[in-house]
């Protein structure tokens, strides 16, 4: 683990009853870097970060693996220690700012609570800090806003306040779980550029979860594609668009219309994602794969293989060098 690594997650697994939600997921985030995690609903992307940050504590859920931050394994760590880490080291932004802010506390209280408890500063100093934070997240004329309650703000403003709360104690790691999904595009663009400029200034590592590869293309340096609770592909952001190797990634890229994309027809991936209670024995994408090979794909789980320059892919089709590898969906039609 290099000195710049903020969080190092290895072999993460989450089971809830018979459902295998997260299966052997590993990732690392460095200071100042953003890892994008992409997947559709049910792919396990939110559960991955919740588990990695120790936030899953339902008795029915079994979490295994390691998630190292500051030399401590967050998985299985005591609640009191975790709370200290959340306050000081990890900031969270979620999709819906309306439910993440406390509706009965003023912005001032929500912004000063963390620094007072974790940085040991006075309320006055915390108030000054709160003003700086609101300014940093682009809230004009912040002074009178300190007395406001969340319901008095628009959606975009609430999301800015959420970011301010998340950054209140200078976290080393920011977890952003679909932070722009509920926002309009022009507000989304504002929030993306805000997080990027704050990251440049403060140097935190960011894990950005999204279902939208377009958003990820603007924020992340590296991206992991999740499917069926597994990382099926992981590589540099430019690679995922220019040289996607997993048939699922290729399908995902071509299933979505892009601006000025002039797509002749969108690829449709037949069928639906696997049931976590009944994951296939072999490749998780086997049922829907247009280029699946022999029985090996059906019965043997492909390992996550490095095909060069840290480009990881979990697919026999991609690693066996078959002809269709670059263009799995050519000629498919629904």
């Amino acid at each position: 683990m290099s000195a710049n690594t903020v969080i190092d997650v290895q072999d993460l697994r989450v089971r809830v009853g018979a459902a295998r939600i997260v299966n052997d997921v590993s990732f690392k985030v460095e200071r100042g870097q953003t890892l994008g995690i992409v997947g559709e609903s049910g792919s396990g992307k939110s559960m991955t970060v919740l588990a990695a940050t120790g936030l899953i504590d339902a008795p029915s859920a079994k979490v295994s693996g390691t998630s190292m931050l500051d030399g401590q394994n967050l998985i299985g760590l005591r609640r009191s220690k975790l709370e200290k880490i959340y306050g000081e080291r990890i900031g969270f932004i979620f999709q819906d700012p309306a439910t993440s802010l406390n509706p009965v506390l003023t912005l001032e209280r929500q912004l000063t609570e963390g620094p007072e408890a974790h940085l040991g500063i006075t309320r006055r100093a915390a108030r000054r800090r709160a003003l700086d934070l609101l300014e940093a997240v682009g809230i004009p004329d912040p002074e009178p806003r300190l007395a406001a309650y969340p319901h008095q703000l628009s959606g975009g403003m609430k999301q800015r306040v959420m970011i301010a709360v998340a950054l209140a104690c200078d976290p080393a790691l920011l977890i952003a779980d679909e932070p722009t999904t509920a926002l309009d595009v022009t507000t989304q663009a504002q929030i993306i550029s805000l997080v990027r400029s704050l990251q440049e200034r403060l140097g935190m590592g960011v894990v950005w979860i999204s279902h939208d590869l377009g958003v990820i293309s603007g924020v992340a340096e590296e991206v992991s594609v999740l499917y069926g609770g597994q990382v099926v592909e992981h590589t540099a952001i430019t690679d995922i668009f220019n040289n996607p190797l997993h048939p699922y990634t290729q399908g995902l890229l071509r299933a979505r219309p892009y601006l000025g994309g002039a797509q002749e027809e969108l690829v449709t991936i037949p069928g639906s994602p696997p049931d976590p209670k009944n994951l296939p024995k072999g490749c998780v994408f086997y049922d829907r794969c247009p280029v699946r090979l022999d029985s090996r794909c059906e019965t043997e789980l492909p390992p996550l293989t490095d095909v060069g320059d840290g480009h990881l892919v979990r697919s026999f089709c991609a690693t066996s060098g078959g002809e269709n590898v670059r263009n799995a969906w050519e000629g498919t039609r629904v």
Binding site: V185, S217, P257
Partner: protein, 339 residues
Amino acid sequence: MSEVRNSQPANRDEPVLLSVQNLQVHFAVRGAAGKQTVHAVEDISFDLKRGETLGLVGESGSGKSTIANALMRLEDPTGGRIMLEGIDIATLRGSDLKSVRRRLAMVFQDPFSALNPRQRIGLSIAEPLVVHKLANGGAERSKRVRELLDLVNLPAHFADRFPHELSGGQRQRVCIARALAGDPDIMILDEATASLDVSVQAQIMNLLKDLQRRLGLTYLFVSHDLAAVEYMSHRVLVMYLGRLMEISPRDELYTQSAHPYTRALLAAIPLADPVAERSRERTLLEGEVPSPLNPPSGCVFRTRCPIAVDECSEVVPAAIEVGEDHNSACIRVPVAQEL
């Protein structure tokens, strides 16, 4: 390949099916400040030609869903006309309204709340048949339900299922089948693909295009997603705070927009290319959408517009023609085109 992509000129000569003229929808609200008016839709005009898809784009609060609802008469317009082949449906009532409603059908965003959870799929699809007396007896009804299920690529035995047994995409197919049951001319698709996962979204969009080709349907595709609108539409109407900003053939809108708001919207959308995305120069809109209770005077976009001048606050800009079938409601079109 190109024949699959909507070809634009093909529809220019088609007859106008629906003509919306100066549509206005206001809502009265009572709040702490007394009685106020929400200006949800203000002076919107457009034509829908037979067989085309008109994309209706705008952010939340722009009034696009209100237009969709007004066309279905789920909201009553407070002004203007909605002409469906010579009949003004904005003021129809009773049985006249009912018979016109058969010709328009709507598909909503959320297929979970759009279907009665206690009703079998077949019954939901058959409801328009019953309401409009389109089938004689149960046998004919179930035959028609099977045909409709087949049309949306669902197996016939789905008629006996309940909504909770279906995935989101399957439910949306059911909603489309139900919308088709009355054999409508116009389908109003209000964010019909917005709540679906990417791969399912593609299935539904392709299905809708396929149905349009086969059945000659006319679509109003209401969406906040400019990329989806580009994929689906022949022409696009951009709205902001209840007003029309720009209306144009699709390719022209995406390549030669003549309105600063359209340009700002396009600039806000992340590109699929990370290198281009990071290096592109763009002006992000600042601030927030003003309240529809008290819209700005003159051009409603002027408070956030990068090229606004004093004059913009004085008059509401008329939609001026800037190209064939292409109108922009901006008094500074030449400057906007340079943005």
